[in-house]
């Protein structure tokens, strides 16, 4: 077991997911059925997928 994780090891993923969520929430505000909406689906879909992946995954 590692002694202590670095800042980025611990916070890297949470920051990436937080930035993606923020981006997705805002991008759809400025679009009406266009590219912004699709970017939002992707950006907000990633946290959902991460939840599903780690939450459901059985230990292999």
């Amino acid at each position: 077991m590692k002694q202590r994780h670095s800042f980025w090891h611990m916070w890297g993923w949470p920051i990436v997911l937080g930035v993606l969520t923020t981006f997705g929430l805002i991008s759809a505000l400025f679009s009406d059925g266009g590219l912004g909406d699709m970017l939002a689906w992707f950006a907000l879909g990633v946290p959902v997928a991460v939840s599903g992946w780690y939450g459901w995954r059985r230990r292999s």
Partner: protein, 398 residues
């Protein structure tokens, strides 16, 4: 972070979440069907749509629409008239006993082309109404709203303290670790931390915009006081304009539309109602761009003379209120967004439920015989001796 600080944050996290969890579970569960209220309305057949007609079929006068609606409820006054964003062949007329805010309203849907009554949707009964009321004010009016707003504030405190505690809990774990093979409490702790940190920004945004929405009534009252008082000085001591003395609403709408070219009508507030003044019919316009369509521009038209009195700019606090609405509802980017909203809502239910479980099961662990731990009120060790030593926060009551 030393263990004293961790204990303080754990105390904040425990109490802020314990107080709000039951209400947050209620909000998450009632909010789930509300995400799809349009679609559910379609399925139940309660959603009113105007019959298809060529795009430029002439419209009947708005005055006639109002007469038709009043004839259905002669003992009531018209408070609002609105047009759905995606269907300008339809008017919804809202009638209440008086112009004062109330839950007792009747709605009449009138075809904008024929002037015929299409439906009288019953907005105050049924499954979706119960979900809506539980979600918005617990059937307790403004007090219920403000109470839920306060619960929302506690949720934000719980989120912030939860993020602070994430670090000591995850010190020796990789992102996404869920220790399924160990005791169930450990698995649920890991799931709580994982789903909590992943949905963090979304939940913070939905929680804070929900809290802002609970202040809507007060914000609008303040707007009247802040922005309309000066405009209304010339009308001092005059009563609310009686219906018989009002100018044509159709003409008023036309002058309001001239005042704001490139904008579309969102809704009309009649004299004496919360969104207008006693002396004006107020037309709320929305922009044509994706973003500006979410904002509103009020145009105050003198109810007697049908002259524009003013088109005041929306103050920042109303703009904030309006922008916070789509961010709370998740209704601004089509069905995939609604589905994502629902999934994140379910993830939140798991975070809340697992948090409650972790608290209920707090004492149900084997004390570590050889691991002395910092004493605290109600404190018990959380881990068995055979497991790798978890982070210090594990020893604190979560």
């Amino acid at each position: 972070m030393n263990s004293r600080k961790i204990k303080t944050w754990a105390w904040v996290h425990k109490w802020s979440s314990l107080v709000c969890t039951v209400f947050m579970l209620l909000l998450c569960i009632t909010g789930l069907p509300l995400i799809f209220h349009h679609e559910i309305g379609h399925l139940l057949g309660t959603e009113v749509e105007s019959p298809k007609m060529p795009a430029h079929t002439p419209r009947v006068s708005l005055d006639r629409v109002l007469e038709t609606a009043r004839a259905k409820h002669p003992d009531r006054v018209v408070q609002f008239v609105s047009q759905p964003e995606d269907d300008d062949g339809l008017w919804f007329v809202t009638l209440t006993p008086t112009p004062a805010p109330t839950d007792d309203f009747k709605s009449v849907a009138v075809d904008a082309r024929t002037g015929a009554v299409l439906a009288q949707p019953k907005l105050d009964e049924g499954f979706m109404y119960v979900m809506f009321k539980l979600h918005v004010d617990l059937f307790a009016g403004l007090a219920g709203k403000l109470f839920l707003g306060f619960m929302g504030l506690l949720l934000l405190v719980a989120i912030v303290s939860g993020v602070v505690l994430y670090a000591p809990f995850m010190r020796k774990l990789d992102f996404g670790t869920v220790r399924r093979e160990k005791r169930p409490r450990l698995k649920w702790l890991d799931l709580h931390n994982l789903l909590g940190i992943v949905t963090l920004v979304w939940l913070f945004v939905v929680g804070s915009t929900g809290m802002i929405n609970t202040w809507a009534d007060l914000v609008i009252k303040y707007w009247q006081y802040d922005q309309l008082s000066a405009l209304l000085a010339p009308y001092k001591n005059e009563p609310t304009v009686p219906v018989a003395q009002r100018a044509s609403v159709q003409r008023s709408m036309e002058v309001a539309l001239q005042q704001t070219p490139d904008m579309k009508l969102s809704f009309v507030a009649f004299p004496g109602t919360a969104f207008s003044s006693p002396h004006h019919t107020t037309f709320f316009m929305r922009g044509n761009e994706p973003f500006t369509s979410k904002l509103l521009q009020p145009v105050l038209v003198d109810a007697k003379t049908a002259q524009v009195t003013a088109a005041p700019k929306m103050p920042w606090y109303l703009t904030a209120l309006l922008v916070s609405q789509p961010l709370h509802f998740g209704d601004y980017a089509g069905m995939p967004m609604q589905i994502i909203w629902a999934l994140l809502d379910i993830a939140t239910i798991i975070v809340l439920g697992s948090g409650l479980y972790l608290w209920l099961k707090r004492g149900n662990t084997v004390p570590a015989p050889a691991a002395p731990v910092a004493a605290g009120p109600g404190h018990r060790p959380q881990h068995g001796g055979q497991q790798p030593d978890p982070a210090p926060a594990m020893k604190v009551q979560a």
